[in-house]
Point group: C2
Chain length 177, copies 2
């Protein structure tokens, strides 16, 4: 039986930082940089964090977000040897549920509905690996947690870190031997 | 730490049989009985199974379904001693995602977004108990599977069976001692 991998969406297969920056610039005319997000929660990088958070509830915010570079090719490659589940804590933003479903159908058609999980707390998700950008998810994972670098988690020295989808492939290919 | 229970929606906290019968009667003028569903998949109980299945995609089908008798009181009671997750294989019907979310908010307000999981395959959900009406979910559960009686699963002699929410409470209260 193939080993299982749970893959987070935002900041892992979705470039939600770039998306947030674009939406904020369009709505409020101020462009912040990805570097401004280093070491702090994303919303704190914007001049008005509350205004930034309000964008998360706008129709289209999740549906039109860009794909993280390298994620598509890597997921298809991983599916050769692993059972890949997409596991998103989407329940906090119920408006995102249909948008995230449609986004996955467009950008990751090899992931069928059987392998999509939208949840709140990820502690009851039992896979061999979890690739995620948040300690709140990784710390309670029963398998092997893999920290995917995002601005907000820079500087954290915990769990195995990967900086790109190339590094994910390298790591998980080495685990097969 | 509290033990965890995953609770299915359709046929467990949602009386989807009654709902389906009502929608079919309204759409096609034929009322089938719950007894007609015994031992067969629900759709096969209707004169036109394909027409019956088409109802699952109609707006409002999941949103307006009746609550299973006793489920509300029992869930609140169980939450005193267990961590209760609602786990629905909603991903097969993406139109149901927002409807099921809103349905839960209305009828089970004590279940917060952190404890809701919409998935496809339930095999990676790791809880101490799973209350479900389908063997396809129960057979792969790593905890203790509990079969909730529905028309289609009558006659199946596998897993611990409960016939009502009163029986769920009785069983799970006895597990505490």
């Amino acid at each position: 039986m193939k080993k299982t991998i749970a893959v987070d969406m935002d900041n892992v297969i979705v470039d939600i930082e770039a998306n947030w920056i674009n939406w904020y610039a369009e709505a409020f005319g101020v462009t912040v940089t990805k570097e401004a997000m280093h070491g702090i929660p994303e919303d704190q990088a914007f001049p008005d964090p509350l205004a930034a958070r309000s964008l998360l509830y706008k129709p289209g915010f999740f549906r039109n977000a860009p794909v993280m570079p390298g994620a598509q090719e890597a997921i298809i490659k991983l599916q050769e040897n692993y059972e890949v589940y997409i596991v998103s804590a989407a329940m906090e933003f119920p408006n995102s549920l249909p948008e995230k479903y449609d986004w996955l159908a467009e950008h990751f058609p090899s992931i069928t509905w059987r392998n999509i999980i939208f949840c709140g707390d990820k502690s009851v998700i039992n896979t061999d690996y979890l690739i995620d950008d948040h300690l709140k998810n990784l710390d309670f994972h029963k398998g092997k947690p893999i920290l995917f670098t995002a601005g907000h988690n820079r500087g954290i020295d915990k769990h195995t870190r990967v900086n790109s989808w190339e590094e994910v492939l390298e790591l998980l290919t080495s685990e097969l031997v």
